[in-house]
Amino acid sequence: MRNFCRFLWMAAVLLTPSVAVAQTALDKLVAAAKSENELNFTSFAAAFGGVDAMPKLEDAFNKKFGLKAKLTFTPGASMPALAARITQEYKSGVHAASDVFLGNQSSMTQMKKDDALAEVDWSGVFPWITPEMEILKGRTVLVWTGLATMTYNSDLLKPADAPTKYEDLIDPVKAKAWAGKLAAPMFPDWMIELSLIWPKEMVLDFATKLSPSITGLIRYAEVDRLLTGEFVLMTNESDGPAVASVAADKGGHITAVPGSTPSQAYYNQLAVPKNSASPNLAKLFVGFMISPEGQAIADSIGHEASHLVAGTRVNKFLAEKKVTAIDPRLIADFYEKGGDPALSEQIRQIMKR
């Protein structure tokens, strides 16, 4: 008992300075942010629940840090397009179109290569951010895990007939159930990233067999096109569980099924561009979005949250379905090494046929 008390005391002595440092760094950041009045956040329309969520996020953000900042959300730009634009703006010496940037792995890696992201000791400043959440150390924080799954309209395709893995999509017998009703994303990036899970030859064979059976190409999150029956099955949805939740909110039934083991995932991260007009508010916003308060709002309205935060839907989905998601480091390394241009080109050519 005495040893245990001694251990507790020593741990307290050792930890106190680091907590104090973190508190000090956060306090300094909050103090600096008070001189910045507005945070401009431009992103795609559904980001964290879009316009529906922004007033709540603004209130909770100001409450958490004792601020009176205005959060202005501008919907419209896609992640890669905005990343390219912010980088171009940085190189030209003008303020970024968005004070804080929400991007996927490839966009973030490219921006890091272009040295357009501010360096921040995220886990040092915010006590609730763990090093694991910093996908690109000192640059980005994972705030939203999009589990890339197959999705199908369960009112039109019986679960017994539905695919349970990607291989089923090219099974000629099973494929009869969705023949002429199969949608795929407009871009084959999901197949390129599949090479991190499957051998390249297997990916190429899969692409060759799948391509002729694809009826149409649609954008991600076009929930209504599955709900109306225009298509019954989507080969890959950027965030299947989120789409299923959106469909449920609308009174429809969409089921998300991971196509591979581990499941594919889009790790969407927040970062602060070096040319942010309100860099301190932006850093606080990043910290806020991964806090329990920020995650709760984004999860309940936008169905977007991190699998690393306990209690979020995606966290529960992985636990309930006993599914593991692909290691974010694996994807980060893939893009940091420049991806696989040869494979990308091969897949693009196959999918064009």
Binding site: A46, T74, M186, L217, A221, E230, G252, E345
Partner: protein, 580 residues
């Protein structure tokens, strides 16, 4: 002296001081030059960018990467077929309707004119979605009804897309052709009638030849616009794996994860530029002998309507009614229906239980009000400047020496066939280059400037085809009496061009209102527009909310239009009472 010569003499007596004469002389060419500089700057920045090399993937020059892509050639062929079909359908509907409205006594002409404009207000992606729900091989209501007959209509084919796009662009053909039809001297038709020509033959042998330049302009403009349209090919084509030029470019600048390939997108504009040059030369040849088509002169000009007779009226109303049903009523009905549903369901009694106002409540956010404010400014300022520049350009094209007019004509025509997203790329390049001393980047002014450049071609066709019918003798009479260029331009030409300019402005305002591609590419806090906001909702999968925004906006525009009409009539009455 003829009437205009007397008027010119009166104006000459009250001629302005010397400095105003100089300003008047140089004002029109200066405005035209400004327009040309804007077009050339943007085109140059796009072309320069296309010669940039690719840092990723292949490392080849953008233009080489583009021309080694077999899909690009297939896409171009499909695009030509699509544009040709679109033009045929648009002309088949747009020109006869313009004739009915401008040259005949068809009842309800004013209402038809308004509805032709209203049809353009509905964003193309809604028209496309409407046709998906109507004629999709699986979920289309028509196909559900025709199931037992074994007939399947598939709108998601190149031909289907061309038909839908043609219907949508008939309004453009209408707007370009209508001013010229309205300006025809009716004495020519009356002479033909006296000589025993039937209504059809009068149209064939008198009216049609007189409006040939306007019709050619209308067809060329429609064709060029069809080459670059985005929304209908995006909704109907992409989901059926049919790529057209605009969607091909869209894929290049909006990849899912890789970097946007702006350089290749810019390079893709080069063949379109060449095509624009070719069509411009063709157009120039048609109007070279423009004096053959001048129908408004200073001597006894008169415009009178042709009586249709009872059978003609029924036929005319049926034709116009069918068009308006397909283009206006049907999509509007489906948009309205969809705005009350959580997700789209075919119209049925069973679906009534899902109707609610939730979508309307959900869209009333601060972002929408901001977008409405920006859209109002954008839709008023851009068309106003575009019209001013286009009139000046048309004047230079038609009234200056052949060498100058040919060059100006050529440049003014170029932007037409290039998707506006390409100009957006050029605008980003220029705005960033001058960003440190001209803070235009990310502003509403930037998208207004790009809109002016993009629309100048269409506007110049409209103003030019109207101006070609105004005889030179009016201008010459003014010059004889010592009027400066500016005074002749503002006091003689502009009043005669009034209806055409009103058409032009209104049409441009509608196009600006629904413009999506450039505002979406350049979107920022300071220039968010309603179309970008609506497109964002569609990207979210919120078809219901996007429909609700469209209905709210259309209702507001209708109320505004009705209020303007009432106020205008009251003003006329008050003025009349004051006089009496």
């Amino acid at each position: 002296m003829t009437q205009p010569e007397i008027a010119a003499a009166d104006l000459a007596i009250a001629s302005p001081p010397a400095w105003r004469a100089v300003a008047g002389r140089s004002l029109v060419p200066a405005i035209a030059s400004l327009g040309l500089v804007m077009i050339v700057s943007l085109l140059a920045s796009v072309l320069l960018r296309s010669f940039g090399s690719l840092e990723s993937a292949t490392g080849r020059a953008a233009i080489i990467a583009l021309f080694s892509d077999a899909e690009y050639y297939r896409t171009l062929l499909d695009t030509f077929y699509f544009a040709l079909l679109t033009t045929v359908v648009a002309m088949l509907f747009g020109v006869p309707i313009a004739w009915f409205v401008e040259r005949t006594d068809l009842p309800g002409r004013e209402a038809i004119r308004v509805m032709m404009g209203a049809g353009i207000l509905i964003p193309g992606f809604f028209t496309a979605m409407g046709w998906v729900y109507l004629a999709h091989p699986r979920i289309g209501m028509l196909n559900i009804w025709l199931k037992d007959a074994g007939i399947v209509i598939n709108i998601q084919t190149l031909t289907g897309m061309g038909f839908v796009q043609g219907l949508a662009l008939a309004a453009l053909a209408f707007v370009v052709a209508a001013p010229s039809l309205s300006a025809i001297d009716s004495t020519l038709e009356e002479s033909a009638e006296i000589h025993g020509l039937s209504l059809v033959n009068r149209f064939r042998y008198v009216t049609l030849p007189l409006v040939t330049p306007a019709l050619m302009a209308s067809a060329l403009v429609t064709f060029m616009v069809a080459l670059a349209v985005f929304d209908i090919p995006a909704v109907l084509g992409l989901s059926a794996k049919i790529l057209l030029y605009s969607t091909y470019v869209y894929n290049l600048v909006n990849p899912a994860s890789a970097e946007p390939l702006y350089e290749i997108a810019a390079a893709s504009s080069a063949p379109m530029l060449l095509l624009a040059v070719g069509l411009s030369v063709l157009y120039y040849r048609i109007i070279r002998q423009s004096s053959r088509y001048q129908v408004v002169s200073g001597k006894g000009y008169r415009s009178k309507l042709t009586p249709l007779g009872a059978r003609g009226r029924v036929g005319g109303l049926t034709f116009v009614g069918l068009y308006l049903f397909l283009v206006l009523l049907l999509p509007l009905l489906l948009v309205a229906w969809g705005s009350f549903l959580p997700f789209f369901r075919p119209i049925s009694v069973d679906a009534l239980r899902f109707l609610s106002f939730n979508n309307y409540v959900g869209v009333l956010t601060p972002s929408l009000w901001t977008a409405v404010g920006h859209t109002l400014i954008f839709s008023v300022v851009a068309p106003t400047f575009t019209t001013i520049i286009s009139v000046a350009l048309s004047w230079v094209i038609l009234r200056q020496s052949r060498a100058i007019s040919r060059a100006v004509e050529l440049i003014a025509f170029l932007p037409l066939s290039i998707p506006s997203v390409i100009f957006g790329v050029g605008a980003i390049t220029i705005a960033l280059a001058i960003g440190s001393f001209v803070p235009i980047y990310g502003s509403l002014a930037l998208i207004i400037l790009v809109e002016i450049v993009v629309r100048t071609s269409v506007a110049t066709r409209i103003t030019g085809s109207a101006m070609v019918q105004i005889h030179r003798e009016l201008d010459e009479a003014g010059a004889v009496f010592g009027l400066s260029t500016g005074v002749r331009f503002t006091r003689i030409l502009l009043p005669l061009l009034g209806p055409a300019l009103a058409y032009c402005w209104l049409f441009l305002a509608v196009l600006a209102f629904r413009e999506l591609t450039v505002p979406a590419l350049l979107v920022s806090r300071d220039n968010l527009t309603v179309s970008v906001y609506t497109w964002g909702l569609l990207s979210l999968g919120s078809l219901g909310r996007a429909s609700a925004v469209t209905i709210l906006v259309l209702l507001s525009v209708a109320l505004l239009g009705a209020a303007t009409l009432v106020v205008g009539r009251l003003a006329v009455r008050v003025r009349a009472e004051g006089r009496s």
